[in-house]
């Protein structure tokens, strides 16, 4: 890496990026003993230290090679550079002071003011985009007393190592977070740690391990390597620690951030933290109906019962009248009285935050996997507000074997 040097300077300044060394490689060309060249090729190869001494047919050696080029640098990695200031002239340079600054896209932090001739600088890269390393050597020419300033610029670009995408799914009060990590570098990445740091209002559960008898095994197996352009999905369950949901939609809730540490080529370490991930919470349902008890399989044209739990999530009490609906072509029909006001705990009302169970009878009329018919609740107290429940659940309807029908 060199900038332009004015001819009158006594000193020279060079910077070399200290990427990790690589293992040597050889091109093994081997023959058989009865070939024309006999064992000459083997002898020739055994002399070259680029080839591993104990496995001549292998191309990966054990000799370390210094880096030949700058290579690529990614956000989260550490820039290590060797700065060399040298005096190749015949004159003495006195009071040599070297200052190194790194100009990032946003600001200019100072690295290392020092008077050393050879120096290794280290800086963890925290920004994307073009960076400029500015090295300034100030000195005095001993012979003339002239003060000189040698300045060199070295530019390099910082690229993005990972693409992170998130998907949220709301399950009752919890949020399921799927984080998709894609390796955007051209080499393999070994994922040291991938953790999710929840923000203050949430508790996170890591769903990326399988619990066996004695231990927890990662879902990804023993392999923690992410090849270039490959994607890995991590799953987390977030539980709010306090009541967060209100009657309206809450958007841009900060749920936490991802912290990813990786290693690449021969131990180059990188670490990034994403910004706060934001989720949108749906509003709390005012009336919630869930099936708490239901058979999984029923027989055709034999009535059965299910238990529903009705929960009042609104701020005030409700007096509910149920309307059992029937659609043409429905496979399961309600049986019973429709339009009935249900007997509720307190004064025939369901208080705010309260739940009650109700048992309902049904009759399956079509075989196969059938859904329950829709159910409508009307709140008498709040001006006939209607709550429609379409997808309460499903049940499998079997056709009875013919022998059992002949008993009549």
């Amino acid at each position: 890496m060199e900038g332009s040097v004015p001819q009158q300077h006594l000193l020279g300044l060079k910077v070399m990026r200290l990427t990790k060394p690589m293992l040597s490689y050889a091109v093994p060309v081997l023959g058989e003993p009865w070939d024309m060249l006999g064992t000459t090729l083997e002898e020739n190869l055994s002399q070259d230290i680029r080839s591993p001494r104990d496995l001549p047919a292998c191309s990966t050696g054990e000799t370390l090679r210094l880096p030949m080029s700058f290579g690529l640098i990614f956000l989260g990695e550490t820039f290590n550079g060797f700065i060399s200031v040298h005096n190749d002239s015949q004159d003495v340079a006195k009071d040599v002071a070297v200052k190194v600054e790194l100009l990032t896209p946003s600001h200019r932090p100072q690295l290392d003011p020092s008077a050393c001739e050879e120096r290794i600088i280290s800086h963890e890269v925290k920004e994307l985009g073009e960076h400029s390393l500015i090295c300034t050597a100030s000195y005095m020419v001993f012979a003339t007393g002239e003060e000189m300033l040698l300045r060199k610029f070295f530019k390099f670009g910082v690229a993005k190592p990972l693409d992170v995408k998130t998907k949220f799914m709301n399950i009752e009060e919890d949020i399921l977070l799927e984080v998709q990590i894609q390796n955007a570098t051209p080499t393999h990445m070994f994922l040291d740690t991938v953790t999710f740091d929840p923000s203050a209002g949430f508790r996170a559960q890591d769903l990326n391990t399988i619990r066996t008898n004695n231990s927890e095994v990662s879902v990804f197996g023993k392999d923690n390597l992410l090849p270039p352009r490959n994607i890995r999905q991590h799953l987390y369950k977030l539980t709010p620690l306090g009541p967060l949901q209100t009657s309206g939609v809450v958007s841009n809730v900060q749920v936490g951030k991802m912290d990813i540490v990786w290693r690449s080529r021969f131990g180059e370490r990188g670490r990034i933290q994403t910004g706060q991930l934001k989720a949108t919470l749906p509003p709390l349902p005012q009336l919630k109906v869930t099936v708490v008890e239901s058979p999984g399989t029923v027989s055709l044209e034999r009535p059965f019962r299910i238990t529903l739990r009705v929960h009042n999530g609104s701020g005030g009490p409700m007096r509910l009248r149920s309307v059992l609906e029937k659609h043409p072509g429905a496979g399961i029909l309600w049986t019973g009285v429709t339009g009935k006001v249900y007997a509720c705990p307190v004064h025939n009302e369901l208080p705010a935050g309260g739940s009650m169970d109700m048992v309902v009878s049904l009759l399956p009329v079509l075989p196969g996997l059938q859904s329950f018919s829709p159910l409508l609740f009307v709140d008498v107290l709040s001006n006939q507000k209607k709550y429609h429940f379409n997808k309460l659940g499903q049940v499998f309807v079997e056709i009875q074997p013919p022998e059992t029908l002949s008993s009549a």
């Binding site: 496995l55 370390l64 210094l66 393999h188």
Partner: protein, 347 residues
């Protein structure tokens, strides 16, 4: 190539004492004759050793896919009435498969190597049944033993070439799989194979797998090698792990422990110097590397050392060019034509 030394010798030595060596002009480009084919194989191998990959590829193209009828003994019944089969030496086949990868076409190399592997396996199963391809009489038990050993050895060499091509393509994981497959066939090289697998994992960034493989490599098992060789390898592996973790002094200590067991090992001296550089001691590193290079030519005139040395020269001063040139007399005195002068980094 114009060779003034050859001319001088020819002028001053009598004709009788001169040997006639085959030169390119004396070998015709026709296919008749096994001897010429063997010579072509040798020539192509030497071109590759001298890194003249393009020339080798161009000359190899004349032989097509090595299945032309005139490459078989049956075609030349007037010369070889009793022999059947291909005249192409196995080494030449292997070279034919490796060549595309050396000029960038790794996929073609892989295809050819897989085909060669398949052929070797077919021949091997024939041999195990007691027969050689194209030969009707069964093999004697002694011959069968020899043939089986030979073809197993050839199959192993093909697999090594496969792994090398995969490494060149940077498909390190697949290369590790190939080496893993070789573990069973080469129990005597178990420790060496495990070490290579570990080193490839270090290249990928996977330290835990590398350490597991290195500790397996330390087991004594069926290795016939001496204790010292095993200890040297263990120290080198440990040194590479320390390089991975940027523990430069610990890495140096590991390499130096190995050096005490093998004081003439140039690889170890190089690695120690490289660690010195990463610690920040540029001048010390240069001194160490120069010491190694000039210590005992020609064996110490290694391209690997010169490449590292010239990189440090570029960093150390503006007079790097003249320092690099100062090696030319030494090289001219000791090394042959195959030496990669690019390692001097002269522009």
């Amino acid at each position: 190539m114009h060779d003034p030394i050859a001319e001088l010798l020819a002028a001053h030595f009598p004709a009788e004492s001169r040997k006639t060596l085959p030169s390119m002009e004396s070998v015709a480009m026709d296919m008749a004759g096994l001897r010429r084919l063997v010579m072509w194989g040798a020539r192509l191998a030497l071109l590759v050793v001298m890194q003249q990959f393009r020339e080798a590829e161009v000359e190899m193209e004349a032989f097509g896919e090595l299945v032309n009828p005139d490459l078989f003994y049956q075609y030349h019944t007037h010369n070889y009435p009793d022999k059947t089969g291909s005249m192409v030496p196995f080494s030449m086949r292997l070279l034919h498969a490796q060549l595309p990868g050396l000029t960038g076409n790794h996929q073609l190399s892989l295809d050819r190597l897989c085909q060669l592997q398949h052929t070797c396996q077919q021949v091997l199963s024939e041999v195990r049944r007691g027969y050689l391809p194209f030969v009707t009489e069964p093999l004697t038990p002694e011959d069968q033993q020899v043939a089986e050993t030979l073809w197993l050895e050839r199959l192993t060499r093909v697999k090594f070439c496969l792994a090398n091509t995969l490494v060149a393509m940077q498909d390190y994981l697949f290369a590790v799989e190939v080496y893993e497959g070789l573990l069973e066939e080469l129990p005597r090289l178990r420790s060496q194979l495990l070490s290579v697998m570990g080193r490839l994992h270090l290249t990928l960034g996977d330290l835990p797998s590398a350490q597991t493989l290195f500790s397996l490599a330390e087991d004594r098992d069926e290795n016939e090698e001496g204790e010292e060789e095993r200890m040297v390898r263990t120290h080198i592996n440990q040194g590479l792990v320390n390089v991975f973790l940027c523990h430069w002094q610990l890495a140096k200590d590991s390499f130096e422990s190995a050096l005490q067991l093998e004081p003439t090992n140039t690889t170890l001296k190089n690695n120690i110097a490289v660690c010195t550089f990463y610690q920040g001691y540029l001048k010390e590193c240069i001194r160490e590397l120069e010491g190694v290079v000039r210590w005992s030519p020609p064996s110490s005139l290694q391209p690997a050392l010169l490449t590292n040395l010239t990189a440090t020269y570029d960093l150390e001063s503006s007079s790097a060019h003249s320092k690099k040139l100062s090696f030319l007399p030494l090289l001219g005195q000791h090394v042959g034509e195959g030496f990669p002068l690019s390692s001097l980094g002269l522009r």
